[in-house]
Structures are given as structure tokens and as C-alpha cells.
């Protein structure tokens, strides 16, 4: 059991958890991830480590409600626990002084990009950060990114905050303005990473993406997370999660991530139905309590049969 020391929504449907996991906190490096299992019937899913505190023995996870497991996780509060967290998994990001790096975070991907941005800044790079979201509320970690970046650009799809457009529009502007870029790191939805890769390929700018395929054990054992890299299978959990964006077959990644779409939909619908039922029960209970109070009737003893079952 791993205790949740703090849980706060940082955007609609996106929650930051501080978990007690001293072993992981001690070892975590930028670019690595964890696998969690919420409860005994739960699945194992990989999640981003936003940062860790080796002294306090804590790791921060940023979780976006997408499927059942993330919804379930995000229903947990401070003081709750999850059953399993294992890591840090994957190879750490390659950190050196590249010169000027552009860090691109799309949605919750920003949380994964953040520790690498911080490490690259510490290594002496000039860090230009572009983060984006569908709207103002979904732009996360802007303040944190500002602390570790020389320049931060923010884009929103609907223009509700900062520049209207996509993070790739900003990247194009930078390239067109003749900004010297030595490295791009892009973490976000697959279409965004693919668009970045296409854009920088032409410019021959080294580009790294952090991939998040379906995964079970996270130690190389199952091979479920295999991605096609220049026609060869590589495992995101041991060979990645970061890959050279220009060598990744994004179409296969999209296709493989859709493998369980129907089951995932079913799981989520079932979860939401149950959640609705739970809420309804709470409401009923509430109503009953009020009614009981109002009538002030003495509590009725339950009739119990010989075997103890309620009649």
C-alpha cells in the first residue's frame, strides 16, 4: 500500500497526487515513469512522474481522467492509498548541454516534459518551452515551466488564453524566425508528437518524443509496449520511453493503442454507472436521515432469522 499524502485537481479532470514512495523518490530521474495499480481488481497502467522529493520520500503524479483506471485514481483523496506503484521505469532522459532546446508539452504531457526541461536547464541549455491545451483550464504547470525556462509560450486551441493555435504553430514560427534549435523534446498526444516530428524532420532538428503505449509489467517481460522504430520492434519500457521522433512509426502506435478501445469504453461506462449509483445511494441515505429526524420515530429492530440472514 502506498499512501496519498496530497491530492489536488490542477485542471478539470487533471489531478496531482503526492505519494509516499521513498524507494522511487530516491532513484527517479527526468524522463522516467511509474506503473500503478489502484486496487486488487485493477489494471496496471504507466503514469508520468512530475517530480520527486528524495528527502521526504515522495513522488508526484499527474493523472488525467481518460479511462476507468484514471477516473478511479482521480476519485481518491488525501489519506487514501493505492495498492501498487513500481518504478522508476524506463531509461532516464539524455541530459547534456545541447545549446538551445525547445520543450513542447501538450496537455498532461507537460508533466512528463517538466522534469526533463528542468534537468536540461540545469545542464546549461537555453530552454524555450511551448505548452498548450484545448482551452485555458487545460494548460497545466505554466508557473513551474516558467521557473525552468528562458522563454515560455502558451497556446490554446480555442484562444481562451494566450495565443490561439497549436503548439506546433508556435514551433513553426520559431523555425521561420530563424531561431537556432539544437534539440526538440515533444511530449503529448500522438498527433501532436507526429506533427512535431514531421516539421523538424525537414529542418533536420534532432527531436525526441516520449511514448506512452499500452504496457503491463514495465520491465521488458511482456512485450506489449513494442513500438515500430525504423521497421524494428523496440520496447518502450526498457528501450524507451524516449525515442528519436524521426524513426518512430506513429501510425502503428496509434493502431496498437486502439487495440482495447471497446473494452475500455465498456469499463468506463460501467464505472460511471456505478459511480452514479453510489451518488444516488448517498442521496437516498441523506433523504432517509432527514425523514427519520423529522418523524422522530423510534428505530425499528431488524428481524433476523436463525442463520442470521435478514428477513
Amino acid at each position: 500500500m502506498f499512501k496519498i499524502l496530497d491530492a489536488q485537481f490542477i485542471a478539470p479532470g487533471i489531478k496531482r497526487f503526492v505519494l509516499e514512495a521513498p524507494r522511487i523518490a530516491r532513484k527517479q530521474r527526468a524522463g522516467q515513469f511509474v506503473i500503478i495499480r489502484v486496487n486488487a481488481t485493477g489494471e496496471r497502467i504507466p503514469l508520468t512522474i512530475e517530480r520527486s522529493d528524495p528527502e521526504k520520500g515522495t513522488v508526484n503524479l499527474v493523472v488525467q481522467s481518460i479511462g476507468k483506471t484514471t477516473h478511479l485514481f482521480n476519485s481518491l483523496e488525501t489519506g487514501d492509498s493505492i495498492l501498487d506503484i513500481v518504478g522508476p521505469l524506463g531509461k532516464p532522459s539524455e541530459i547534456e548541454n545541447f545549446g538551445t532546446v525547445v520543450i513542447m508539452g501538450g496537455g498532461v504531457g507537460t508533466a512528463m516534459a517538466y522534469p526533463t526541461a528542468a534537468a536540461l536547464k540545469r545542464a546549461g541549455n537555453r530552454v524555450i518551452t511551448i505548452i498548450g491545451g484545448r482551452n485555458k483550464d487545460l494548460v497545466i504547470l505554466e508557473a513551474e515551466m516558467r521557473e525552468v525556462s528562458d522563454t515560455v509560450f502558451v497556446t490554446t486551441d480555442d484562444g481562451s488564453y494566450s495565443d490561439k493555435g497549436l503548439v506546433t504553430d508556435k514551433l513553426r514560427q520559431l523555425i521561420e524566425n530563424g531561431t537556432r534549435i539544437d534539440l526538440v523534446l515533444a511530449v503529448g498526444p500522438i498527433p501532436m508528437m507526429r506533427a512535431v516530428a514531421e516539421m523538424t524532420r525537414k529542418e533536420r532538428i534532432k527531436t525526441i518524443v516520449s511514448l506512452n503505449p499500452i504496457m503491463i509489467d514495465g520491465t521488458g517481460m511482456c512485450g506489449g509496449c513494442r513500438v515500430l522504430v525504423e521497421g524494428k520492434s523496440e520496447f518502450a519500457c526498457v528501450d524507451g520511453p524516449e525515442f528519436d521522433a524521426h524513426r518512430v512509426d506513429f501510425a502503428v502506435l496509434v493502431q496498437r493503442n486502439a487495440m482495447y478501445r471497446e473494452a475500455e469504453k465498456l469499463s468506463l461506462e460501467e464505472y460511471k454507472r456505478e459511480e452514479y449509483k453510489r451518488e444516488e445511494c448517498k442521496w437516498e441515505e441523506c433523504k432517509r436521515e432527514v425523514e427519520e429526524k423529522n418523524t422522530m420515530a423510534p428505530p425499528q429492530a431488524e428481524v433476523v432469522g436463525a442463520l442470521g440472514e435478514k428477513k
Binding site: 489494471e43 513500481v86 518504478g87 522508476p88 512485450g223 506489449g224 526498457v238
Partner: protein, 490 residues
């Protein structure tokens, strides 16, 4: 320094009333099992186990060789003759204690060990008919112990004050842990997954080895004093150097298993519907995907579909028999050699056939074909014939030109072996490995190139069996004990 506990039963004369010439006439007692057409729809255990009467009947067949080759051929050296005699006596707990002197996982080996390659293959009764049912007897005794032995009666060994870390809770790690704790060392087992048992849990299906049995055997080890910690990937969460340094372990045993699943490198292996056997079995066994949506881990819908497993080992058979239980319409084994070369246990092949698995031997896929939406539609295969023996001693399959054919498939599961997991290799400086990435360890002492670090099981040998890994764990425990006593690393 204490030695492992020994049974208090003194050696004695045989109580078997039958003369040898009568014993060899007795037929082997069959294992009662669930009917094939019932069991192929459910994950409950196939074999039902001997009754006390059947066990005693079978035990009477043992001819009590002066130099028993069954024990000699057992990788952990179970004293078969002695425990079988205790069954004849009706002292089933005594028999269990006798097995436990050499084997800490009797309920597991009694179920999954390929006895025909070891004890039963060496049994002299083979010359006269069928071997003694040693595996069945072991299983009986272990199950009797599970039901009748109170864990409170376990006596812990006197502490030596030495600490040993075991990396991986599969068969080699558990065996090493059991032998070391019996010698009084403090033993801490690290497991990367959320359940103890390694391949026993994620690899072997419920119908062959129920999870409850693994849990009970692990509880027995807990009662012996072994500590377990899940969710630790040694190499990532903590390194071997940190274990030997700040965590204060006097020795480390690495038994992490083989690891990475191999693929054939043929076109279409990335299609949806193509699995590694490890992933497929992990979803089923560790994650209970066959109980979706009660359990959250999903599985592709197998109902009424054609499913093929590529390979001929125990893993291949576990996978295809699981596929049947998920409702596969047709279930094939595609194996490039002939049935005689299959590495699977004979009992598994027999069970699979009874359950309706179709064996397409001397055939291999050349390519997986797409349905246009990223899902598997069919496999283009090629027929093979057998040529001269290769380095494995088995006859080499040679493709027959012009023999290509297509089979419609919705799911293909690759069970063609594994390669070494790189995590420990990458994170342990000075640990020598082979060209293929397996850890180099001495064959008798299991010592690696690093002082105080031992290794055994599939991470040293490549994919093998539960019992061979247990043998390595046993040798390692002996040699770790010697190292801890003498402090010498020659």
C-alpha cells in the same frame, strides 16, 4: 552453523508387503482429471489429485532400488524412495517433511515438473512398463500437507546474523530463499510485479497451477521467516550495488528469469491481434483478463475466432489451452519441427489434444496479413521437412519450396522463446555477461564475476524449466552459505 532441518524419521526397513515381482505387475494409477469438454471452457484445475487410497496403491509399485536413479536425476535431489515409503506407511506428513528436505515447493513441482525428463524418466519401472507416478505422489503429499499441516509447527533456524537479498521470486529465487532461511540466514526477496511467484504466477495458467497453491507455498516460506517485498525492480528501484552497500546485504542472488519475449522478425508482427506469449499469459494469469470486466485488464475477444500459437514448448501449450478457454473457435499449434521434437511435457500435449487443440506441425508463418484496419486477418505459412540435427540435437526444419498456404487467424501468439532482460546487466558494473546478455555464473557454485553476487535460473541459462531453475537456486544457496560462513571468495 546449522544445517537444514531433517526429518526425524529414522531409516528403516520397508513396510511394503509385496515382493518386487508383484510390485512390477501393478498398473500405474491414473490421475483423475476433469472431462476434456468441460475443462476446456473453464480455468479450474484439470488434474484432481490422488485420493489417499490411490496414492498408497501407486506407492506400493516402488521397487526401492539400492541406488535410486530417480533421486540422482532430480535437479534438487528429492529422496523419492524415502518419501514413497512413508506414503506406504500412511505417514503423509512425514513424507511431506522428507520432500521438504530438498524441495521447498512440492505442491508446485508436483504439478508442473517434467518428470519424464528427470525422476520418472530414470525410474527402472520404465523397463517393465510405466514409471512410478512420482510427480502425482509428490503432488498428493504436498496437497495433504497443505490441508493438514499447521504452519505454527514450523521451527525457525537459529539466526546467523547474515543477510541475503534474493532478486526475483520465481522458482530459483524461492528455492534459494527456502534453503538459506533454513540455514538461519535473514532472507529478503524482491519482486518486480505485485504478486510473489514470478513465472509461476504470470506464466503458468490456473488450470495447471492454481494461484492459491502458490500463495500457500509462499505462506509456508513466510512462516519459515522469509521476507517478501513486491513492486521493486532491482536495477531501477534499487541497484545491486546499493543492496550490497547501504542496504547491508552480505550476499545477493539474482534469479530474474529470462525476460524479453522474442519475435520472429517477419512482416505483420506489429498488427493488433499478435501477442507475445508472455503478454497474453500475463494478461490471463497475473491480471485475470479472462474475468473482464470484473477485473479491469482487457483482452481481445476470442469467442468463435481462429487462434494460433507459434511454438512447441510448455508456454505454447499453456497459451493455446488458455485461448480455448477464452472461447476460441479453432485453436492451432504451429510448430516448425515434428511432434517428437516438441519440448513440451507429454501430459500437456495429451491434455491439449483431448481439449481440441489442432497441431499443425512442420509449419511456420512467413508473414501476418492485415485486414486493412490494422488487425490480423491471416497468416501465410510454409511447410517444413526435417533435415540433419542442429546444435540443439534436434532435427533441423527445412522449408519446402512452393508449399506456402494461408490460414485465417484473428489472433496469433508468439511462443518462440525469450532473450535476456537487460536491466540488471545495464545497472551493475563489473557483472560479466555472455554474448547473448545472460549473466555468467559458475555451473556448480552459481558465483558471478562480482564478489558476493550469485545468479541462477533462466537469467543464466536462457529459457528452461521450473525444476532446473530450482536446481540452480539450491546450488546457489549451498554456495552462498559456504561464502557467508567462510567469507572466502576464491
Amino acid at each position: 552453523m546449522s544445517t537444514p532441518p531433517t526429518s526425524k524419521t529414522p531409516p528403516k526397513k520397508s513396510s511394503n508387503p509385496l515382493p518386487n515381482k508383484e510390485r512390477i505387475k501393478l498398473p500405474r494409477q491414473h490421475m483423475p482429471e476433469r472431462a476434456a469438454q468441460v475443462r476446456n471452457k473453464q480455468f479450474t484445475e484439470v488434474n484432481l489429485g490422488y485420493s489417499e487410497e490411490l496414492a498408497r496403491q501407486e506407492a506400493l509399485r516402488c521397487i526401492e532400488c539400492a541406488k535410486p536413479s530417480c533421486t540422482k536425476d532430480c535437479p534438487v535431489g528429492v529422496k523419492v524412495k524415502d518419501f514413497v515409503q512413508l506414503i506406504v506407511d500412511g505417514d503423509f506428513l512425514g513424507a511431506a517433511a522428507k520432500i521438504r528436505e530438498d524441495n521447498v515447493l512440492p505442491a508446485i513441482t508436483g504439478r508442473v515438473c517434467p518428470q519424464e525428463d528427470h525422476c520418472e524418466g530414470a525410474c527402472l519401472l520404465c523397463n517393465k512398463g510405466e514409471s512410478l507416478g512420482i510427480g502425482y505422489l509428490e503432488r498428493f503429499v504436498a496437497d495433504y500437507e497443505r490441508q493438514h499441516f499447521d504452519l505454527k509447527n514450523i521451527k525457525r533456524a537459529t539466526s546467523t546474523g547474515k543477510k541475503v537479498a534474493i532478486v526475483g521470486s520465481g522458482p530459483s529465487g524461492l528455492t534459494a530463499a527456502g534453503d538459506l532461511v533454513a540455514r538461519g540466514h535473514q532472507v529478503h526477496v524482491f519482486e518486480a510485479l505485485h504478486e510473489i511467484g514470478g513465472v509461476l504466477v504470470y506464466g503458468i495458467p490456473e488450470f495447471r497451477l492454481p494461484k492459491s497453491i502458490i500463495r500457500e507455498q509462499v505462506d509456508y516460506m513466510r512462516a519459515m521467516g522469509v521476507e517478501f517485498e513486491t513492486d521493486v525492480v532491482v536495477g531501477r528501484t534499487v541497484t545491486i550495488d546499493e543492496l550490497m552497500g547501504e542496504e547491508g546485504y552480505d550476499a545477493v542472488f539474482i534469479g530474474t528469469g529470462a525476460g524479453l519475449p522474442q519475435f520472429m522478425g517477419i512482416p505483420g508482427e506489429h498488427l493488433n491481434g499478435v501477442y507475445s506469449a508472455n503478454e497474453f499469459l500475463t494478461r490471463i494469469n497475473l491480471m485475470h483478463a479472462y474475468e473482464f470486466p470484473k477485473f479491469d485488464e482487457p483482452m481481445v475477444d476470442f469467442r468463435g475466432k481462429n487462434v494460433a500459437v507459434i511454438g512447441g514448448g510448455n508456454t505454447a501449450l499453456d497459451a493455446i489451452r488458455s485461448a480455448l478457454r477464452l472461447g476460441a473457435g479453432k485453436a492451432f499449434i504451429l510448430y516448425r519441427r515434428s511432434e517428437a521434437e516438441m519440448p513440451a511435457r507429454i501430459e500437456e500435449i495429451k491434455h491439449a489434444k483431448e481439449e481440441g487443440v489442432e497441431f499443425q506441425v512442420l509449419a511456420a508463418p512467413l508473414e501476418f496479413l492485415d485486414d486493412g484496419k490494422g488487425w490480423l486477418r491471416a497468416a501465410r505459412c510454409q511447410k517444413m521437412e526435417l533435415g540433419e540435427p542442429d546444435s540443439s540435437g534436434r532435427r533441423r526444419p527445412i522449408p519446402i519450396a512452393g508449399s506456402e498456404y494461408e490460414i485465417p487467424l484473428a489472433v496469433a501468439i508468439m511462443a518462440i522463446g525469450t532473450t535476456a532482460n537487460p536491466i540488471i546487466r545495464m545497472t551493475t558494473p563489473g557483472l560479466e555477461t555472455t554474448k547473448k546478455g545472460y549473466i555468467q555464473a559458475d555451473e556448480t557454485t552459481q558465483r558471478t564475476s562480482r564478489r558476493g553476487v550469485f545468479a541462477g535460473g533462466d537469467i543464466v541459462t536462457g529459457g528452461a524449466t521450473v525444476i532446473l531453475a530450482m536446481g540452480a537456486g539450491r546450488r546457489a544457496a549451498k554456495s552462498i552459505h559456504e561464502f557467508l560462513c567462510s567469507g572466502e571468495w576464491k
